[in-house]
Amino acid sequence: MDKSALHVISLVSVGAHPTSGRPRRAEQDARAVELGLQLAGDNLHVLHAGDAEEPALRGYLGMGVDELHVLAQPPGADALPGLADYIRESGVQLVLTGSQAETGEGSGMLPYLLAEKLGWPLVVGMAEVESMSNGTAQVLQALPRGQRRRLKVRLPFLATVDNSAPKPRQSAYGPAQRGLLDVEEIDVVIDEVFAGAELTPAKPRPKRLKVIKAKSGADRMKAATAKASGGGGQVLKGVTAQEGAAAILKLLVEEGVVR
């Protein structure tokens, strides 16, 4: 792959340390930057929508990024329209993001909404880009229990990274201090739903008691290692879109998701 010909954007947010809650570079976003650096090298474009004054953003610059582009946004603004416009005009081939923000809403919806708005394919949990040529990319998607699925995606596309992506490199103080912040003022769209909502701390979900039914050691081993699959799955092959949609709708009704 020719690093200089690749145009990759990594989207970054401000994270929070899990035990102290202090602002830091977000773990998954740092992985998005790491993957971007490995793919595009110095060509990587790092983008943040939010407050450019946040010192934690320099954590990304410390990874060896010369410049961080910031779309200035006040807290509570909807980052989506600004990001979508920016990305659409950038002529980028690949946009990388973390799966879920560590601060703010943290709904994990941004990649989906962004992909919908752009009309691009979205790869969830991308672990590696194997090759990029002729307008398509061959990538590995991470599945639970270390499994990988090889996918062919047409460019441009959006991908989220999670903990299967390469570990982010150390953020160094010198480059972090020298790095430039390129701030761009954009139209602010207030997120009405979020602004009107009331946030309460999440309550831990009650846990179902684990009743061990296994009779033998082998059963217990199986229970501990077996794939967490519902078992009632069904593979539809060679069906029309209508039949497929009907099967999905039927399942959703059965599961009570759609009433």
Binding site: M63, Q170, A172, Y173
Partner: protein, 653 residues
């Protein structure tokens, strides 16, 4: 004939040596500026040489006496030879003086030669094997050639043959001494060494002083390099210091990382820096190489550099720098008072601050320090959990107190919590007016600084100093020698000046004042392990031993104790960077402990405790001094507790 040739030889050699001086000085001047008292240093140099340096050399009486004879004889002979044979002052008294001095030098050189017959592995070979012979040639030739001047022998004694032999001897000796001095031969140590003593970067070390705190980086100066990338990023007097090395290998013999087979040899490192400042490769290095895992040593001759080339991965591999435990054993042993640890930390600073290349768990630890103020990444709110039932006074309530107990990050470590609780028990028994900072305390910054992260160190230091400034206390006492060292010696540069004591010092005071009612230690025989940051860094060897004696313990000293104590392997972030070697440093230290036959080793440092307890059993027990004192306390008869009220059984519905 020699009478005409000799002045020519002497003055030609002197002239060439002078050119060598200029060249060498220009090499040092590649380094960055440093604040040095040039004239004062030069004036103080003879005393530093004869007192401070001799004090270190005199730990080995044989070589001290030999060096006095050889060096003293050589300096006097050179001056007299220039007068007598250079300027032709054929005075009888001068002649006899030169005879005497060259004889003294000759005797010294003989002992030097004897030492070199079966040299220990720490000594460099190569040109250093030639040096005693060159000294013999110099002193012997000048002795014979001066005999006529003193009137002992007739002027034309010996004829042509002797003249030729003497001529060769004189040429050899003069070349080694005059040219070798300034053009990079073994005698360079005399010239560079003298100037290094004059313009040392830590002049406080002379005259019995101590200077061990790392020097701060000025982070506000955007033009200054963050640490040392290339040899020219060292200050000029650091470069000069490297040039002073005599390759005696005392550092190599003392280095725990070298003994453990980790890829560090302090002597080779300093010689690599010399290669860096002068340009070239390490092919001429004639000592032990950096150890490698296959036991063969890293091959010599494959590394090279110059003042303007990056050091790491040209001259030195990064794992060499990360093997150091900053135990300062090399600095303590160095007869030239070279500052190895400063140089290593300077280069680490570049790797961490510019390259983001702290190995293994380094990056994680530094991130934790930034985000949670402790290296383990524990929630900062849990810092006082160890004392949940102790009702400790907190500074934010108390404001004024006699003793501020600095807890340290051991608060998060379950083993160290036993030590902390023992120390609190002792403080309470002695009715000391003390308090802790509680949740306001942060990591002292020790580990961040040794890992080269000066920025995080300064952040932590500034915040701690800010916190401490709010309160009124007479002294700080801590159970952690690393916090002790940083608070005492490294916060001063940021306007944090405190009276700081290690808990062993404070305990010794309490016992001496009769404030503690201690009994006798029961049973087992005990040895004591000196922590580097308490001993070599701060000179406290006596107080822990006094405390142990007060408990009726006769310490079974290890061979390597006091200022020669071997590191536990826990300093300088070494357990974090974890460079592989062929054995572990704490295992070697445990062997030292086993040698004494002691069943218990007293320690005074949470790092040492952790490292030594990491050695597999069976091994002697490890106890902190505070635990030993707490165990031996005479408990005051506690007032009889009222019998617990009988509770009615609760009813469940």
């Amino acid at each position: 004939m020699l009478n005409t040739l000799l002045p020519i030889l002497l003055f030609a050699a002197l002239g060439l040596a002078l050119i060598g001086v200029l060249r060498r000085v220009s090499l040092w001047r590649n380094g960055r500026a440093a604040k040095v008292d040039l004239l004062g240093g030069l004036l103080a140099m003879p005393k530093r040489y004869m007192v401070d340096l001799h004090h270190v050399v005199a730990r080995d009486k044989y070589i001290a006496n030999t060096h006095v004879a050889t060096a003293g004889g050589a300096v006097a002979s050179i001056i007299l030879a220039i007068l007598v044979h250079g300027f032709g002052l054929h005075n009888r008294v001068l002649g006899y003086a030169l005879l005497l001095m060259s004889a003294v030098m000759f005797v010294g050189a003989i002992f030097m030669y004897l030492r070199r017959r079966h040299p220990p592995s720490r000594l460099s070979k190569g040109p250093w094997m030639r040096l005693p012979k060159s000294l013999l040639a110099f002193s012997g030739s000048f002795f014979v050639v001066t005999l006529p001047v003193a009137g002992v022998l007739p002027a034309n004694f010996g004829g042509w043959l002797l003249a030729i032999i003497l001529g060769i001897g004189l040429l050899w000796g003069v070349c080694e001494l005059f040219l070798g001095m300034t053009w990079g031969g073994p005698m360079k140590h005399a010239f560079a060494g003298a100037l290094h003593l004059a313009w040392h970067r830590r002049p406080e070390r002379f005259g019995g002083g101590r200077s061990t705190g790392l020097k701060p980086l000025d982070l506000t100066d955007r033009t200054a390099p963050l640490g040392v990338e290339k040899p020219k990023d060292f200050t000029w007097n650091q470069l000069l210091g490297f040039d002073a090395c005599v390759q005696c290998g005392k550092c190599e013999a003392a280095c725990p990382a070298f003994a453990a087979g980790q890829p560090l040899n302090p002597k080779k490192l300093i010689q690599d820096m010399v290669v860096g400042l002068a340009g070239g490769t390490d092919a001429n290095f004639a000592g032990s190489p950096y150890p490698s895992l296959d036991g063969m040593g890293k091959p010599i001759g494959e590394h090279g550099g110059n003042p303007h080339q990056p050091i790491v991965n040209g001259l030195v591999d990064a794992d060499t720098l990360w093997s150091c435990t900053t135990c300062r054993a090399c600095v303590e042993e160095c007869p030239m008072m070279i500052e190895h640890v400063d140089a290593i930390v300077d280069m680490r600073r570049h790797l961490t601050l510019e390259k983001g290349a702290t190995p293994n768990k380094g990056a994680e630890v530094l991130e934790n320090l930034i985000a949670t103020d402790n290296p383990g990444g524990f929630a900062p709110g849990g810092r006082m959990n160890w004392a949940a039932d102790l009702n400790l006074e907190v500074m934010s309530h108390k404001k004024t107190v006699d003793v501020l107990f600095w807890v340290g990050d051991g608060a998060f470590d379950m083993r160290n919590q036993r030590t902390l609780r023992a120390f609190v028990k002792v403080l309470k028994a002695a009715r000391v007016d003390f308090a802790v900072l509680g949740l306001e305390e942060r990591d002292s910054g020790d580990v961040a600084r040794r890992l080269g992260d000066e920025a995080t160190f300064q952040m932590l230091a500034r915040r701690n100093i800010q916190t401490l400034a709010q309160y009124d206390f007479k002294r700080i006492v801590t159970c952690d020698p690393h916090s002790f060292h940083v608070l005492k010696n490294e916060y001063g540069a940021f306007e944090g000046h405190y009276v700081v004591q290690h808990h062993s010092t404070y305990l010794a005071e309490l016992i001496a004042d009769g404030a503690l009612n201690v009994g006798q230690h029961k049973g087992t025989s005990v040895t004591y392990h000196d922590p580097c940051y308490l001993g070599r860094y701060n000179g406290e060897y006596q107080a822990p031993r006094d405390v142990l004696r007060a408990l009726g313990i006769e310490v079974k000293e290890m061979v390597r104790s006091g200022f020669r104590s071997r590191c536990c392997g826990g300093g300088g972030g070494a357990p974090i960077t974890d460079i592989p070697g062929k054995q572990r440093i704490p295992d070697m230290r445990m062997d030292d402990i086993r040698e004494t036959g002691a069943e218990l080793v007293a320690v005074g440092c949470p790092q040492c405790t952790a490292m030594l307890e990491g050695v597999v059993e069976p091994r002697p027990m490890i106890k902190d001094i505070a635990e030993l004192v707490a165990d031996a306390l005479f408990e005051e008869t506690a007032p009889a507790k009222p019998a617990a009220a009988r509770r009615e059984p609760a009813e469940a519905h």
